[in-house]
């Protein structure tokens, strides 16, 4: 990163920030899906979800130690995108089985508090694994960006005398990095896959049915516990995918990252309408845009205030979120 273009407004830099916001938003949306899916089925805010994401990042970090040199490492990336989501999903299923399932009939506050407890346990596991200081990935898995930027720098040097053209070249330097392309290539198929699964497959319809009326779903012969486990598994897969992409894009991880990013993602889920899948995606993108644009045009210190301020304002005017359906109690 070099000097930031603080308050220096130009459409080209704006488009770069919007793009960054969309990319971060897509990541938040991936995590948000895990919150919204689980909430949709058992009305539990699974506070541990962000930390499942964090452990996914930790796992990615360790696996990257075994990464081969570039360009062989390109084969390693699909492997990461396979192993980490599977591990996260197994972790999520285990948490559901050990902690939430025995509490299924308990009052709603009990599993909620337990979720907080699980969150702390996972944070401690992460802390034991990587320590308290942030860690960076050493391995280079993706094609280097430096060639591209040094090429740009040369152009920049050549045009330094010409102020006007410098303005044009500068933001072009990092339009899309390889990590961004990986992100897009992961998020779009994952979300499309989920949408198709939920809309058209039998098990997807069973998920929607269980979310809408669990008692009726049982009377239809749907194994509700299986559907719940599947939901946790899906949430885990999305957390794992987000973890791999996040780690390769940001390259620095720490044991508290699950808390913060989980909170952003949860906010995204609530803003979009918790329980709604398109809502989580929309909310994620909105939060991502606020995250990126707020940092540039308002100031990095104010990002959290902007995000949670938006949440408060939105909840005042639309308590069920942008796409959330107001639940009508019917006797």
């Amino acid at each position: 990163m070099d000097l930031c273009l603080f308050a220096e407004f130009s459409f080209q830099s704006l488009s770069q920030y919007v793009l960054n916001g969309l990319l971060m938003g897509a990541l938040f949306a991936l995590i948000a899906l895990g919150y919204t899916l689980v909430y949709g089925i058992i009305e539990l805010v699974n506070f541990a979800h962000g930390d499942v994401f964090m452990l996914g990042c930790v796992l990615t970090y360790f696996l990257c130690m075994f990464a081969p040199e570039y360009p062989t490492s390109l084969i390693f990336i699909p492997l990461l995108l396979l192993i980490v989501p599977i591990c996260c999903s197994l972790l999520n299923i285990t948490i559901n089985y050990l902690v939430y399932r025995p509490l299924r009939k308990a009052p709603r506050l009990v599993p909620l508090v337990s979720a907080l407890g699980v969150s702390f346990v996972l944070i401690n596991v992460g802390q034991m694994a990587i320590g308290t200081s942030p860690k960076s990935i050493q391995a280079q898995l993706l094609p280097s960006e430096t060639n591209q930027s040094s090429a740009n720098r040369e152009t920049e040097n050549a045009t330094r005398s010409n102020e006007a053209s410098e303005e044009l070249t500068r933001p072009r330097r990092s339009w899309l990095t390889w990590a961004d392309i990986l992100l897009i290539g992961t998020v779009i198929p994952a979300m499309t896959g989920l949408a198709l699964l939920v809309k058209f497959t039998k098990i997807g319809k069973a998920m929607r049915a269980t979310a809408q009326n669990p008692i009726a779903a049982r009377l239809m012969g749907i194994n509700v516990e299986f559907v719940i486990a599947l939901t946790f598994a899906l949430g885990g897969i999305f957390a794992g995918l987000a973890a791999v992409v996040f780690t390769l894009k940001i390259t620095t991880i720490d044991y508290l990252m699950g808390y913060k990013n989980g909170l952003y993602a949860f906010t995204a889920a609530v803003v979009g309408g918790v329980g709604s899948i398109p809502g989580a995606v929309l909310g994620g993108i909105l939060i991502g845009l606020i995250y990126s644009l707020g940092a540039v045009y308002i100031g990095g210190a104010w990002v959290d205030a902007c995000i949670f301020g938006t949440l408060i304002i939105l909840l005042v005017f639309r308590p069920s979120g942008i796409l959330g359906t107001r639940v009508r109690e019917k006797v």
Partner: protein, 238 residues
């Protein structure tokens, strides 16, 4: 007499410390309509939910075709051929009518057979065909009740449990639904019908039970109950 299709023997069920069913025994003969009548809170819905495996049983036995089912999970009870149209319909509000019917056939895998049964359901309740692409939540109460019964039939059950199919409906619609129940029964369906509308239920049933605060207080042929002075005074408003 042949073996009953469904038999409850001294069933006890409680919610926490509150005992709802205090040892009830009910028998349903094959191809009959048996009704359980009783006031609000007598335990009628709990009886059906216990049979379907949605509420755990405390004591006693439930036999379906001679097989004990009181320890069987709900989704397997349905597979054995015991379907329920629950109290308050409980249709899936944000699934279409057709998807609701497909959910009823969740345990089946024969696509052609399911399609055939959807057509059958449309034949039984033609209004559902006009509404097939509409979301379940947009239907009127009567249409929702028809959908709930049709959905229960989609698993090709041997026996149907019906919980308050007349609840909150206009008399014209109630007649339509009760006609359909009788038609199903003529085709050989065994039915356990739980109703507050005792007169209507006893008119179409072969046998009836009166449930009072978790205990069966009377059990007789439906015609007999219809003319019993105690039943008339308590449930028929005469």
């Amino acid at each position: 007499m042949s073996q009953p299709i469904l038999e409850l023997k001294g069933v006890h069920t409680s919610y926490g410390v509150i005992e709802v069913l205090k040892g009830i025994s009910i028998k349903v003969e094959p191809k009959q309509i048996v009704t359980v009548i009783g006031a609000n809170g007598a335990g009628k819905t709990t009886t059906l939910m216990t049979i379907s495996g949605c509420v755990p049983i405390q004591k006693g036995e439930i036999l379906f075709n001679g097989q004990p089912i009181h320890r069987t999970p709900a989704h397997q009870i349905l597979k054995m051929g015991l379907a329920q149209s629950p109290e308050g319909r409980k249709i899936f509000p944000r699934l279409t009518v057709k998807e609701n019917l497909e959910m009823g056939a969740f345990t089946r895998n024969d696509k052609a057979g399911i399609q055939q049964d959807i057509e059958k359901a449309y034949h039984l309740f033609p209004i559902l065909k006009d509404r097939q692409k509409q979301l379940g939540g947009t239907l009127s109460g009567g249409e929702q009740q028809m959908l709930a019964i049709a959905r229960a039939l989609m698993s090709r059950p041997k026996m149907l449990l019906l919980d308050e199919p007349s609840l909150g409906l206009a008399p014209m619609i109630i007649l339509k639904i009760f006609d359909a129940i009788q038609e199903l029964n003529r085709e050989g369906m065994s039915v356990l019908l739980v109703e507050q509308n005792a007169r209507l239920a006893l008119k179409i049933a072969h046998w009836g039970y009166v449930l009072e605060t978790g205990t069966v207080t009377m059990s007789a042929a439906a015609q007999e109950l219809l003319h019993d002075p105690r039943v008339q005074a308590a449930y028929l408003g005469e």
